[in-house]
């Protein structure tokens, strides 16, 4: 019975390895990144935190395991009657505090570059400046320093996302929109206004940075900037009902000229559909004799 411990430890170690082995195959130890600079910076911050965590973990668990094995009861061994050691206790309190101050300093150092948008690149989508300058400690939408950004409204509803692009007419209506797939130009800073029309959702595409909740009645903000054309996938991250798992989010990044063409096509399609609908309405109204009642 006395030889139980090494056996237990061996089993534990083996169990841990079995659990960790598949984990070593992919990128299982760090958050996803590579789509947008803010995701990369979060990844960097996480990595530094993880390295410090590993050192603390090995130190604490090692000391625990060592004292468990080294000081097990044996014939002729007597316990040492120590009730405390003020110097030691102050020491480890200060030590723990120092590590946390370091982590806080790191977070502060990286914070603004994660939170505030980068500039749109020279090869990005042609945009007029909308007034630059970062606004720190503010809930307002943050704008890149050169003021060039494409702002898209993201609306959450059970269980689909709707994306509304700039381009509304003078009445404020008629902006092009799409469902499920957001199409964006590469090398361009995209800022998002995230809202919800029913319950709380959360906008999250891991490779493009952290999640932001879509809360009814409030507008939340984030940004990303994609260099590499392609598809980026995510899904709603806040329980929003029975089909929460089906509320996927997709971002397709295309070169700026393709984006301009797509947006124009989108506008034309929507205008054509509205004209067709108006014609259909007029036909219905003439049939029912209610021609004076025209929908907007």
């Amino acid at each position: 019975m006395r030889r139980w411990l090494p056996l237990c430890l061996a089993i534990l170690l083996a169990g841990g390895l079995v659990a960790a082995a598949p984990a070593a195959l992919a990128h299982p130890f760090t958050p996803q990144s590579g789509g947008s600079p803010n995701a990369d910076r979060i990844n960097w911050l996480y990595r530094v935190g993880l390295y410090i965590a590993i050192v603390v973990f090995v130190g604490v668990e090692g000391a625990l395991l060592y004292s468990l094995i080294r000081f097990r009861a044996r014939r002729g061994r007597t316990p040492v009657m120590v009730r405390g050691n003020t110097r030691l206790e102050v020491g480890w309190t200060v030590g723990a505090a120092v590590i946390l101050v370091a982590l806080a300093a790191l977070t502060f150092a990286e914070l603004s570059s994660i939170r505030n948008p980068d500039n749109t690149g020279p090869g990005g989508y042609a945009l007029a400046s909308t007034g630059g300058g970062a606004q720190f400690a503010s809930l307002e939408q943050r704008v890149p320093p050169n003021g060039r950004r494409l702002n898209i409204q993201v609306n959450g509803q059970q269980y689909i996302w709707r994306f509304t692009y700039p381009g509304a007419g003078p009445t404020g209506f008629g902006a092009p929109y799409s469902y499920e797939e957001m199409v964006v130009p590469t090398d361009t800073t995209i800022t998002l206004d995230v809202v919800s029309q029913d319950v709380v959702h959360s906008w999250w595409v891991p490779e493009l940075g952290g999640k932001v909740d879509a809360v009814p009645g409030l507008t939340n903000h984030t940004w990303f900037k994609i260099h590499r054309p392609g598809l980026y996938r995510g899904q709603c991250a806040e329980l929003c009902g029975r089909h929460h798992a089906a509320m996927i989010a997709t971002v397709r990044a295309v070169p700026p000229d393709q984006f301009a063409a797509w947006l124009a096509q989108r506008k034309a399609d929507i205008a054509a559909a509205q004209q067709a609908a108006a014609a259909e309405r007029a036909k219905l109204n003439s049939q029912t004799g209610a021609a004076s009642v025209e929908n907007p």
Partner: protein, 566 residues
């Protein structure tokens, strides 16, 4: 009890016409004895633990394969709502109340709780809450998660009245907890044995005192919040309805103002159990008694200031995020201090590998994993990636299963001889401990990776992208190992109730006063309440016995006590 004859003589009062001790099942319905109420609590909450465990296994079965169709989305949402709510409101919190009920009066040398009838009421309210909640199984169980975020829970989005069952559960168990907490506070403040100042209070009692204060501060907030929710649902108010002047964010603030202290309500008593078990089986005084007691209180205070770290992704001001990040960091300091003190308690002791000690050390080592991942989560830009993913699921389960549940099991193995007068089997106990420890590691370690690979929590299905299916399968296998570990403890308890070795009053040669009385203790607990002269009164009593009888103190020289060794 031989030792009682040697304490300071107190004039005995002879009482006539004392009612005989009640027997039979009706005596359990009418009892106001803190020990019987404690047993009722412990048995009831353990049954709920098994229900919550079965729900967890069903969740894991559904997630064992990608695109699984074992349960419908509706059933899946009900399962995780039932699981979370049961484990928190019907298992961990009231289990701690049960242990405290049984042990606090014994540990402080009192003959019962301050308000015995209120104590019985607390228990029956808890049972009523549990029954109301589980009755919803026959109608429509709630399905908005244990956090019940408005407006999902307050609006028209979920058919049926499951949310109302959840609200009544919160009202009934919340009232039960508040009354129980007031009772515990009054008992600890007023009914300590002569000589037991605050500096001689056992550390488990310190954590229960803090638990009681946190309940009194936090529970009324959730009671108010669910009342607003009830009004929104049925009486036409719009507290959480943004389109009518309410605020969806208000629910999150109210919920987490309760929800975060709740974490400490659940884990601090487990810390108290660690602090009782470690010195007894290291045969060494607790290292830094004052630091541990102070750390308990500091954790509780800071725990009231960190609630918004559950809302980093919500539209809240940056200054609030910075404040709660820092307060969450600061909390790691007293928590670390406790862990260091526990390690120092083992250091240069003579550690006896009894099951209770193995559960305690295993629990600490698992809790450390949850504590460290908690520090990573407090860096809020990092949290933007990790919040609401399986990384958080892993973190909270290391804290609550690794910390609280392993602590509860350490407590069961440590105090079972006191509760029943019989010893649990060490062999079965170690097997149970090993399986639970391995089960927790295999289930939850890999969930960090599921979360980092983009799997949100509370999804009934996931695509087979990357290694998600493998990760989830490993996790499911682990959950069944964990379940097997729990089953073995049940077998152990049932077996030991019949054939367990008779324990005697003090089988562990422990330090605190509950070991002064016979096992199980008589109705009045103490014929003579001993005067307390240190933080380890039983050591003083044994020393006094040794001085007066000339026998060596066996607890201080373990090699003389072969019966204690395995």
């Amino acid at each position: 009890m031989a030792a009682a004859e040697h304490t300071i003589p107190i004039p005995q009062i002879v009482v006539d016409r004392v009612e005989p001790e009640q027997r039979g099942w009706t005596s359990w319905l009418t009892t106001t004895d803190h020990k019987r109420i404690g047993i009722l609590y412990i048995v009831t909450t353990f049954v709920f633990f098994l229900l919550g465990g079965v729900e967890a296994l069903l969740i894991r079965l559904q997630l064992a394969a990608a695109h699984n169709t074992l349960v419908t989305p509706e059933t899946y949402n009900q399962l995780f709502t039932l699981h979370g709510t049961t484990m928190i409101f019907l298992f961990v919190v009231p289990m701690m109340a049960g242990l405290a009920n049984y042990l606090v009066p014994l540990m402080i040398g009192a003959r019962d709780m301050a308000y015995p009838r209120l104590n019985a009421l607390s228990y029956w309210l808890l049972l009523a809450g549990g029954i109301v909640f589980y009755t919803s199984l026959f109608f429509t169980p709630p399905e908005a998660g244990w956090t019940q975020y408005a407006p999902l829970s307050s609006g028209i989005f979920i058919p049926g009245n499951g949310t109302d069952a959840w609200i009544y559960l919160i009202h009934l168990t919340g009232l039960s907890s508040i009354l129980g907490a007031i009772n515990l506070y009054a008992t600890i403040a007023n009914m300590r044995a002569p000589g037991m100042g605050w500096g001689r209070l056992p550390l488990f009692v310190w954590t229960i005192l803090t638990y009681a204060v946190l309940i009194i501060l936090a529970m009324p907030v959730i009671a108010g919040a669910v009342t607003l929710l009830l009004f929104d649902r049925h009486f036409g108010t719009h507290f959480f309805d943004a389109s009518n002047g309410g605020s969806a964010l208000l629910w999150q603030h109210l919920f987490w103002f309760f929800g975060h202290p709740e974490v400490y309500i659940m884990v601090l008593p487990a810390f108290g159990i660690f602090s009782e078990v470690l010195p007894v089986f290291s045969r060494k005084p607790i290292f830094g008694y004052k630091a541990i007691a102070a750390a308990t209180v500091v954790i509780a205070f800071l725990g009231l200031l960190t609630w918004a770290h559950h809302m980093f992704a919500a539209p809240i001001p940056l200054v609030v995020m910075i404040f709660v990040m820092l307060s969450s960091y600061v909390i790691a300091v007293p928590t670390g201090v406790k862990v260091f003190n526990w390690i120092a308690t083992l250091w240069r002791g003579t550690v006896e590998y009894r099951t209770a000690l193995l559960f305690a050390v295993g629990g600490i080592s698992l809790f450390v994993i949850g504590g460290i991942s908690g520090v990573l989560l407090a860096m809020f830009p990092v949290d933007w990636q990790l919040e609401d993913t399986y990384f958080v699921v892993a973190h909270l389960h290391f804290v609550l299963v690794g910390g609280s549940v392993m602590g509860i099991f350490a407590g069961i193995y440590y105090w079972f001889p006191k509760f029943t007068g019989r010893m649990l089997s060490e062999g079965l106990g170690r097997l149970s401990c090993l399986l639970m420890f391995v089960g927790i590691l295999v289930t939850f370690l890999i969930q960090h990776s599921s979360g980092l690979d983009g799997m949100p929590r509370r999804v009934y299905e996931y695509p087979n992208i990357g290694h998600l299916q493998l990760y989830n399968l490993i996790s499911t296998i682990g959950s069944f190992i964990l379940g097997a570990g729990v089953l073995i403890t049940i077998v152990n308890v049932v077996r030991s109730l019949r054939v367990g070795v008779v324990a005697g009053p003090d089988p562990w040669k422990a330090n605190t006063l509950e070991w002064f009385v016979p096992s199980p203790p008589p109705v009045n607990n103490f014929d003579v309440i001993p005067r307390v002269r240190s933080v380890e009164p039983m050591k003083d009593i044994r020393r006094q016995v040794e001085r007066q009888t000339g026998e060596p103190d066996r607890a201080l020289t373990p090699e003389l006590t072969p019966a204690l060794r395995v």
